[in-house]
């Protein structure tokens, strides 16, 4: 039972739930109070002061985001006093902000710009602060560009990095007129613990933090007649892209996206889901091998639990924060990098194209993937395996630049050879998806039967709980895996690095006893990635997750090891999982990194 209290908003009496803030109460009544430092994902800061409202009996204005409603409260959200103050605050922010909007990457999707337009700030009377200070743009990271001149000090990035990710790469330094958002000793983003996850980019209201874009490079490659440009699309992109193009969150646009990519001029439009399935076969085999070595051979050097390695944000995090556990990571490359390595070997050979003529582009919901593609280890094809990584947002820009009417595009299917996907590959885009896909395959390898869950939906690993656990008991395995009879396979899923940290600390203290753990750097998994449309919040992540599981449900094949192209790949090229070729092309190693 929730108690209701009586308040009035702009003279109209309303009943609202006790404990709600003025901002929430007004929202329920259909009144939007402008905000900047407020974000649904984050704790309340109350520092931009744009959301101030008048409360009867109080001389000063109150921040609507930070003030809980009290019985009898009389609130004015749009009085003259409120309007004048709000306008002043917007003007102050604009005076401090590099308002060179036409040259800004976030032009058209900037919360400050929107407010300035709403309040019709037509002149700038205050003295502009930007020309009086020196700013440097940090563009040394392959993933993220940080431009302090556009920062409005709302600290959303700082809270994101601390609360969602537990990384604290970004922090506030100095005070007063020198106050700024920066890193440890003001080093470049590439030189600190930043995992490149891009959650700060996704939560930034302005253009102060943006992804490093490779739009022009990709256009150039497409225009070059001597290049064969292949593009792969990650699972989470198909449930996010629509938002950037005016569709509701959770709209599935797979076929339209493929059609659009073809119209943009990509020579071959393929699916990262294919290598997601391949990852499951490799990683599943790796897990079973480790289990066998541990349980049968009693090999004490085997590192368990085994952790997934698909999320490059997570990889960089563990390299910085828990380097003593690098052996616990699966040696499998991420699906993007497996794809890249195969594109310039297997695909090149099959299509009879010189690998140096292939430009490999990937569309990812992720900014960390940009860094991943840059890693020196990722050149196993003899070339750079993945040349350019674009985010979901960048793909939307390509589509808009090409003038494509997304509404009118007829959906088509992916091209063949590395374009086949299963439901298991698709759910890689949601937290728990890799685990579910792995279990679908591993259980069947061990027992010869399908996982004992209705419609193959392994519900215990689904959902948005930060850390989830599941135990699957193995009964009546096939002869080869008889040693696993009666073993309870203990699994865990963590998403958002702050939750990854919890699991890692539990392992470190000996409290956790898992066999297999899925880690995803971003809240909600890839569908909530740093390269996904802005805004992203819990509600939107939920909608995208529903779309992912619907996509899985509707696919005819839903188990990775049944992907016909994967079967063909092993037959024609790789020979066997964890074989010599696999080792060379699909597996990698990790590096210990500093902790600042």
């Amino acid at each position: 039972m929730t108690t209701k209290i009586n308040i009035s908003i702009n003279g109209f009496p309303v009943k609202i739930e006790k404990g709600k803030t003025i901002l929430e109460a007004a929202k329920e009544e259909g009144i939007t109070i402008p905000t900047l430092c407020y974000h649904k994902d984050l704790c309340v800061a109350g520092n931009c002061r744009v959301c101030v409202v008048e409360v009867a009996g109080q001389r000063r204005l109150s921040a609507a985001c930070a003030t809980p409603c009290d019985e009898g409260m009389e609130i004015l959200t749009n009085s003259l006093k409120v309007r004048n103050s709000r306008k002043h605050i917007i003007e102050l922010l604009l005076a401090e902000h590099n308002a060179d909007c036409t040259k800004c990457y976030r032009n058209g999707n900037c919360e400050l710009q929107e407010l300035a337009s709403e309040y019709k700030i037509m002149t700038q009377d205050f003295i502009e602060l930007v020309p009086l200070k020196t700013y440097s743009i940090d563009m040394y990271s392959p993933s993220i560009i940080k431009d302090d001149s556009k920062c409005i000090r709302c600290q959303r990035c700082v809270r994101t990095c601390a609360e969602l990710q537990g990384v604290n790469a970004l922090t506030v330094a100095h005070k007063g007129n020198k106050m700024k958002i920066t890193t440890f000793f003001e080093k470049h983003m590439r030189d600190v613990v930043c995992t490149n996850c891009g959650q700060c980019v996704n939560h930034c209201p302005t253009g102060a933090l943006v992804e490093k874009n490779y739009i022009e490079e990709v256009w150039e490659a497409i225009a070059n007649p001597n290049k064969h440009v292949v593009v792969q699309t990650a699972p989470a992109v198909r449930v996010g892209l629509g938002e950037e193009l005016g569709l509701e969150p959770g709209t599935r646009v797979t076929g339209k996206m493929v059609a659009a990519l073809k119209r943009l001029g990509f020579d071959s439009v393929l699916d990262t889901d294919f290598t997601a399935d391949l990852t499951i076969v490799e990683e599943g085999t790796e897990l079973l091998t480790r289990l066998k070595r541990a349980l049968v051979d009693k090999d004490e050097t085997v590192s368990l639990p085994m952790a997934t390695s698909c999320s490059p944000g997570w990889i960089k995090y563990i390299e910085h924060m828990f380097p003593e556990y690098l052996d616990n990571l699966s040696t499998c490359k991420s699906p993007q990098q497996m794809f890249g390595a195969l594109a310039k070997t297997y695909y090149a050979k099959a299509r009879n194209i010189e690998p140096d003529k292939i430009v490999s582009v990937s569309i990812m919901p992720c900014t960390a993937k940009k860094f991943e593609a840059f890693r020196p280890e990722m050149h196993d094809s003899g070339y750079r395996d993945v040349d350019y990584v674009l985010t979901t947002r960048e793909l939307a820009i390509l589509i808009k630049q090409a003038g494509l009417d997304f509404d009118k595009i007829e959906p088509v299917k992916y091209d063949r050879l590395m374009g086949d996907s299963t439901g298991a590959g698709v759910i890689f885009g949601a937290t728990g998806g890799v685990m579910e896909a792995a279990l679908r395959t591993a259980y069947e390898i061990i027992t010869g039967r399908e996982v004992p869950f209705k419609n193959l939906n392994i519900e215990p690993v689904r959902g948005m709980e930060g850390v989830r656990e599941a135990t699957i008991k193995i009964e009546n395995p096939v002869k080869e895996w008889a040693f696993l009879d009666g073993v309870e396979l203990k699994c865990a899923v963590a998403h958002g690095l702050v939750n990854a940290k919890k699991v890692m600390e539990a392992i470190k203290s000996g409290k956790a006893n898992y066999h297999f753990i899925e880690f995803m750097a971003c809240p909600g998994g890839c569908l909530g990635g740093g390269g996904q449309p802005i805004p992203t919040n819990a509600e939107i992540r939920q909608r995208r997750a529903e779309a992912i599981y619907a996509e899985d449900r509707d696919l005819p094949i839903r188990k990775s090891h049944e992907n016909p192209e994967v079967i063909k790949l092993y037959k024609d090229f790789l020979i066997e999982p964890l074989g010599a070729k696999s080792h060379h092309l699909l597996h990698t190693k990790y590096t210990k990194r500093n902790r600042y």
Binding site: N47, R49, V50, H88, I89, L92, I127
Partner: protein, 394 residues
Amino acid sequence: MTNSHQLKRVDFIFRNENDWEKVLSSTLKRKPAELINELISSELKGRGGAGFPTGLKWKLTSEEKSEEKTIICNADEGEPGTFKDREILSKVPCKVLTAMAVCGHVIGAKKGFIYLRGEYKYLEPELKKAIDEFEYYCKEIDFDFSISIFMGSGAYICGEETALLESMEGRRGEPRNKPPFPSQHGYLGKPTVVNNVETLVHAFTIFKYGAKKFYDLGVQYSRGTKLFSVSGDTPKPGIYELELGMSLQDFVYEFGDGDTKAVQVGGASGFLVPRKKFKDAAIGFKGKLTGISLPTGGSMMLFNSSRSMFNVLDNYLEFFSEESCGQCTPCRVGCQQLLLGIKAVKRGDKPAVYLDKLMRLTETMQLTAKCGLGQSVANSFSSIVENFREEMIY
């Protein structure tokens, strides 16, 4: 107040009878409710500048249900022109410690902290000695209470109680949203009383002599005495304990150099009163006093006619531009705009009417800043520009 030109000097605070042990042991025998009533009836208000009724603060905190509570003595004396807490802590530290222990007894706290201003580091050894002696005595009388010193790092904003708490918890000194107030959700999320050094000394006086003796001093709404840090163009700078409610006229008569042009009451975040308003201004908390009432943390800066009010204001704004924590927009950007604005007007880059725009900005800053300091940083601007507009322009 009459034109008697008489200020009532009082000597409670620095009178050192060395009887804190007696006061402590006898006060601890009294019931918390009784002590709260004593404080409430004395009408003691916080001496840091904001003037929240001390008795009520203790009462609210005592009513919170929590295993752990804390009493913090705010010795982050950072307001320009204030130097009284330093004297208290070096001359009569045990009075402060006693009042902290009594507060602990009243609210149910076993732990006290002194948040000592970074620049007062040199006081630490002596203060530590006093604390050792004090804790030894507490043990002797079987009273479970300990006090630690927490060193500040020189940020002005940490004098604001919630920024102080953030700083103590190891975070950046930035004010919190209120509510919740420290009495509910203070140090480490537990109910906490944060009192100014001087407030605690007055509490000691009240527990020793009774509320009446304190209440009888001062005027309605502003009872008791106050320590004033007198500086500037005065022949006798120093610290004086005076009765509250005096008129500024009387004050200037006593402390001025015969050529006083204006007095800045309450430090850089306080108000400037020009000569023509001395008569109407009384030093005390807002109430039904006629004329202007000026609350103060105790800083009284006198300026004679050789001083440029532009330079004075420029100096204050320079200070606030640097010392704003930088968290909220109105204070962070507002202070910079005020500073750059007066310079631009002086240079002629902006027209004189730009001062009016800035005056409206000060209103917004007062209305919307997140903390008490942010709300008051523009006070000096508005009072100086209002009274000495011509000095800003020409």
